[in-house]
């Protein structure tokens, strides 16, 4: 009996939905936290099965190809580890009274809805469905960002909501335009929204139409990616929401949004008459990178600091895909994966730190390596990794992106290198105080579980030195798809 892709796909979508329903009904936060973990774990296992599935058949609504399978696996994996982290994090929030059991039930249900939404976006072969998935994930995260109902949290959620909704609107408009461009060629109906069909026929589309469409899609989904100057919601949403949500936002949602942009980039690239999507993405990427790098300096809130770092890295990734070519695409994909793992790991660490020290203010956290060696050094490792220093995975991807860029377009490498350097300076500027020096604040040992964080950093470390050939072959294949 051959295993067809749809089974795994369906599982990946159904498990979160069922779990969300169950979690909405289930009282008691311990049980729901476990169920949340279980559901996320099961989704992860289900997603692994997609590797072995037959990729040739593409449904009209759902499909699995080489591009999305890794995104799905990464997504469900980080979703799973975050749920583990969340379990130990949320208990503390309940103790301190920042959350009530009712809200917690809501939180867990929303978590699964969000995962389901992202999985839907990733598995969709239908650009409308993809849009729906991303919107679902966005709206649930908006709710979760505001879950603390503090002044700041509500404002962050409101800001996220307004900017996110506009993004939603723009993306939808872009989607409609793509459909309109497709109609004269592929005919009316569902076919006009099936991505595989669109790619196959893209060369016949009216270039003017898909040009406009791409601008709307780039800005619409780019808002979700957090590209400057569309980024405004991102730092606040990261800073004011629960830390597991910050981890998922940075690690996953940004990726999913960028994935959507990539899908359309491929369509656009298949049309010879259309504007090259590369320069647009390169510009937005560089602007985000340099802007976020400078913004890192004056940050006072530790979560906002790393949120800006996410903008910076999204800039690098967007830049890499904008450059295109086998090496840069490979670097971009790798960077995406590495950034997800590293940044969510960092947020795990930051979450623990904030809970232990009772503050998110950078100035009030000092000498972590003295009081909490494991946590402190993990944070150091995280920052080292995210700053693009070896022997971690981000180094390899930055190596590939920067070196290939310089060989092709030396002038573009200048702002790229400048941004990376400025950001590195800022990160270490803050790290010097956070991790070293005379410690301040609470030095009681923490009983939180550091496993997810260590697993993430371990993976990033391994990837920085050794990439399994299966993964590499796959990455290469995808890099070719991306063109």
């Amino acid at each position: 009996m051959s295993f067809s892709a749809s089974d795994g796909v369906v599982l990946v979508l159904v498990i979160p939905v069922v779990a969300a329903a169950a979690l909405a009904l289930l009282p008691g936060y311990r049980a729901s936290a476990r169920l949340n973990m279980l559901a996320s774990g099961l989704t992860f296992v289900a997603s692994l099965s997609l590797f072995f599935a037959d990729h040739s058949e593409a449904g009209r609504y759902l499909f699995v190809d080489d591009l999305n399978v890794a995104f799905i696996v990464l997504n469900t994996f980080v979703g799973f580890t975050t749920s583990v982290f969340s379990a130990s994090y949320i208990a503390h929030e309940l103790e301190t009274g920042r959350l009530t059991p009712t809200y917690l039930r809501f939180y867990h249900a929303m978590y699964q809805v969000m995962m389901g939404g992202m999985n839907l976006a990733l598995t969709a072969n239908n650009i409308g469905l993809m849009w729906v998935g991303i919107e679902l994930a966005t709206l649930t995260t908006i709710l979760m960002v505001g879950i603390y109902r503090t002044h700041e949290a509500l404002e962050a959620a409101w800001k996220y909501f307004i900017l996110g909704s506009v993004g939603i609107g723009l993306a939808l408009f872009g989607t409609i335009l793509v459909y309109m461009a497709a109609v004269p060629i592929v005919g009316e109906g569902v076919n006009g929204m099936v991505w595989t069909v669109l790619v196959a026929q893209a060369k016949h589309f009216d270039p003017a139409m898909i040009n406009v469409a791409f601008i709307f899609l780039l800005l619409g989904y780019g808002t979700k990616v957090g590209l400057a100057p569309l980024h405004a919601w991102l730092p606040d949403a990261h800073a004011e929401g629960p830390t597991p949500i910050s981890a998922v936002l940075s690690g996953l949602l940004l990726n999913v949004a960028l994935y959507a942009v990539l899908r359309f980039k491929i369509v656009l690239a298949a049309n010879p008459g259309a504007v090259a999507p590369g320069p647009l993405m390169v510009t937005l990427g560089l602007v985000s990178l340099v802007f976020a790098a400078f913004m890192l300096y004056r940050r006072r809130d530790i979560k906002r600091l790393f949120a800006y770092s996410s903008i910076e890295h999204m800039g690098i990734i967007t830049f890499a895909f904008g450059m295109g070519g086998p090496v840069a695409n490979f670097g971009g994909l790798l960077h995406m994966a590495m950034h997800s793992l590293t940044k969510s790991g960092i947020f795990f660490a930051v979450g623990h730190v904030a809970q232990i020290k009772g503050t998110q203010r950078v100035a009030e956290i000092r000498g972590l390596t003295v009081t909490h060696p494991w946590l402190g050094w993990s944070l150091v490792i995280g920052v080292v990794a995210i700053a693009g220093l070896p022997p971690f995975g981000v180094f390899m991807s930055e190596f590939l992106v920067v070196s290939s860029t310089f060989a092709r377009e030396p002038l573009l490498a200048v702002p790229l290198v400048l941004g990376i350097l400025v950001a590195l300076g800022a990160l270490f500027y803050h790290l010097g105080g956070l991790a070293f020096g005379e410690p301040t604040g609470n030095d009681a040992p923490s009983d939180a579980s550091y496993t997810p964080m260590i697993v993430h950093f371990g993976l990033v470390l391994v990837a920085g030195i050794f990439l399994p050939s299966v993964l590499v072959a796959w990455f290469h294949h995808v890099a070719q798809i991306l063109g």
Binding site: N211, R298, P390, A407
Partner: protein
């Protein structure tokens, strides 16, 4: 198994020790274990690399591991150049480990040093072994990172944290520059393997750009002016044996990087690249030593003197490049030999001096020489060995520092063979600056040794200092012996580096070790020669003769009495010359008109009993001119952009709106 594999095993073993140290750094035996293991591994590494250098190591010299960039793999290889530098790294590493066995026991927080020390050694080994761009940069930055961790090992001192910060930034600047250089060399398709890079053809402009980038990349790590600012901060901040490694060995790894990329990979370079190097090198030599002379902190002085010595090495390399570009292979070989010899020599005496400074630090808890003095009585062995180091670094015969500087001078004297006018003028000028640097180095180390070890103690700590442990002493003795041996029989080393110059400069010096009396003769045409062994014997003979004659024929009577001092009776130790006092005449000569030097004298009015106060501030003008603008620019940009964090939602929406409209406009106009 090939020698590369063995050396890789050594590096892996060092990494293993690092992991072990991480796990067990709080154990009592950890210090002895880590340094002991590092020592053993480094000794093996030294033996292997010397075997490889002298051609006793078999043929298989490449190793490809399925790591790193997937479609390339991780290449590791050893040739004569890397073997030479591996020897430098491992000898330095062995000495530092030996020293660490004793010095490390004084560490307050050993868990912040122990894991990173072997990791640092492993990093340096791997850099030299790496044979593709990715492995190379990975090891390079890993080395930087490990040393960064060591620089901030004493993290409670804000000064050290700042030093670590500046260091890391500069290291990253360097790495990114190298990354760009490799990007150019490897081309857009990513041929990162060194073998492929060597085969690739590139335009002269590309090669020149590579040279400039490597000069930034390797130069910032080596401490070339003007990229040196981090060095006097970071090197002294680390524990002393690590300072020794950073100054004595890591800067050499940077030199290796430079030689590897510029001489080996980049292909043919125009003559002006040599001129560029000469300029940078002689500037570093003079500014470095002047800066050193102005320091009162022994370790910082040593760090600044590293800048000088790197400058000397770069003068040699610049000459080699210029000679090679003009096809004067023999002279290129001479210049390169000089540079390589200085690499080795500097690693010996700089480590020795840092060890000595560390011993003083352990014994007195002070690095500021103005609070020391008279240590020669309390620490006789240390002071003797430190003196040997001072003599070596001041290029006094018969020690090793002189040999390499002598060779560099000989290379300078080959310059009439160069056709370019600019070089004809520059080379003698560089020679003059080199001579100036050598003379100033003598002054700097008279100051260091004189103020620290001679005279009377200026503090109770100095008065009660105790001689350090036997591990530290044996490490210093080892290095002092190496300084002497390298000074009196340099011919063997020159022969050992001959394969390198044959590969990279196209010629080699005549075989030295077979010459009568082990004289060194760089070229038979000129007939210039030097014999350290004979000079050593001569001096020994004539001083012994003098001593014998005096004791045979002259009075033996000796009487201890208070110092005469032109009749001033027993003044306080504070009347002795201080470090800055000693340097004052030279400062007046060379630095009077620089804006960075500020003297302030507050003299009380007559009748006022207040003590007069003299303050001297010496800033590095390059910091203000070169670094401060960058710092300010980043600060200003950060401040201005930071306003974007505090906009209203409406304004953010306006940003989205404007982006959309402008993109649509672009589309409307463009397509």
């Amino acid at each position: 198994m090939s020698v590369v594999a063995f050396l890789m095993l050594c590096a892996a073993a060092l990494l293993g020790v690092a992991l072990l140290a991480m796990a067990a750094s709080h154990a009592r035996a950890a210090t002895a274990l880590v340094y002991g293991a590092s020592l053993a591994i480094c000794i093996v590494g030294t033996a292997l690399s010397i075997a490889a250098l002298t051609g006793r190591a078999g043929a298989a010299t490449r190793l490809i591991l399925p790591l790193g960039v997937p479609w390339i793999g991780a290449h590791f290889a050893i040739d004569s150049l890397s073997a030479f530098f591996l020897a430098v790294v491992n000898i330095g590493g062995a000495a530092a480990s030996l020293y660490g066995l004793g010095y490390g026991t004084h560490e307050d927080e050993p868990h912040r040093v122990l894991p990173f020390f072997p990791a640092f050694l492993a990093g340096m080994n791997l850099v030299v072994l790496a044979d593709d761009a990715f492995s190379y940069l990975l090891s390079w930055e890993f080395m930087s990172l490990a040393s960064w961790a060591l620089v901030i090992a004493h993290h409670r001192d804000a000064e050290n944290r700042r030093a670590g910060f500046v260091y890391l930034i500069m290291a990253s600047v360097g790495t990114l520059a190298l990354l760009l250089a490799f990007g150019l060399l490897a081309g857009p398709d990513g041929h990162y393997d060194f073998e492929a890079i060597r085969l690739g053809a590139r335009a002269p402009l590309t090669s020149a750009l590579v040279l400039v980038l490597v000069l930034i990349g390797a130069g910032s790590k080596a401490g070339l002016v003007p990229l040196h600012a981090w060095l006097p901060l970071a090197h002294p901040a680390a524990p002393s044996h690590v300072s020794a490694l950073m100054s004595g060995v890591m800067t050499k790894v940077a030199i290796y990087a430079f030689i590897r990329i510029v001489f080996d990979l980049a292909g043919a370079l125009p003559w002006w690249s040599g001129a560029l190097l000469l300029a940078v090198g002689s500037l570093s030599a003079v500014l470095g030593v002047l800066q050193a002379l102005m320091q009162d902190d022994t370790k910082r002085l040593l760090a600044c003197s590293t800048i000088e010595n790197i400058g000397i090495i770069f003068i040699g390399l610049g000459l080699a490049l210029a000679f090679r570009a003009d096809g004067v292979a023999a002279a290129a070989a001479l210049a390169m030999t000089a540079a390589l010899l200085h690499v080795l020599n500097h690693s010996f005496f700089k480590s020795l001096l840092f060890f000595g400074a560390g011993a003083v630090l352990t014994a007195t808890g002070d690095r500021n020489m103005d609070r020391l003095g008279g240590l020669i009585h309390r620490m006789p062995v240390t002071s003797f060995l430190f003196l040997a180091g001072c003599m070596a670094i001041s290029a006094l015969p018969p020690l090793n520092g002189f040999v390499s500087e002598w060779l560099t001078f000989q290379a300078v004297l080959q310059s009439p063979d160069l056709p370019q006018w600019a070089l004809k003028v520059m080379v003698p000028a560089a020679g003059g600056l080199l001579a100036l640097a050598a003379a100033l180095a003598g002054a700097a180390f008279v100051k260091t040794f004189g103020i620290t070890f001679l005279g009377r103690p200026r503090s109770t700590e100095a008065a009660n200092a105790k001689e350090v442990d036997r591990f530290s002493l044996s490490a210093m003795t080892l290095l002092a012996l190496l300084c002497l041996i390298a000074g009196i029989v340099p011919g063997f080393i020159m022969d050992a580096v001959a394969p390198i110059t044959r590969n990279l400069a196209g010629a080699a010096l005549p075989l030295q070790s077979k010459l009568p009396w082990l004289t060194i003769v760089p070229s038979f045409e000129s007939g210039s020669s030097y014999n350290g062994l004979l000079i050593f014997l001569f001096i020994a003979f004539s001083s012994l003769l003098a001593v014998w004659a005096i004791h045979r024929f002259a009075s033996h009577a000796i009487r201890r009495a208070p110092a005469w001092d032109c009749g001033f009776p027993d003044p306080s130790p504070a009347t002795q010359y201080s470090g800055s006092g000693f340097a004052q005449p030279i400062r007046r000569v060379f630095l009077t008109r620089t804006p960075a030097t500020r003297e302030q004298l507050s003299m009380p009015a007559p009748g006022d009993m207040r003590a007069a106060r003299f303050t001297l501030t010496i800033a590095d003008p390059l910091w203000d001119w070169l670094y401060q603008p960058f710092v300010s620019a980043v600060e200003i940009a950060a401040l201005q952009l930071n306003k974007l964090q505090f906009l209203t939602i409406r304004r953010y929406l306006s940003l989205v709106f404007l982006s959309l409209v402008s993109l649509l406009l672009v589309l409307a106009i463009w397509s």
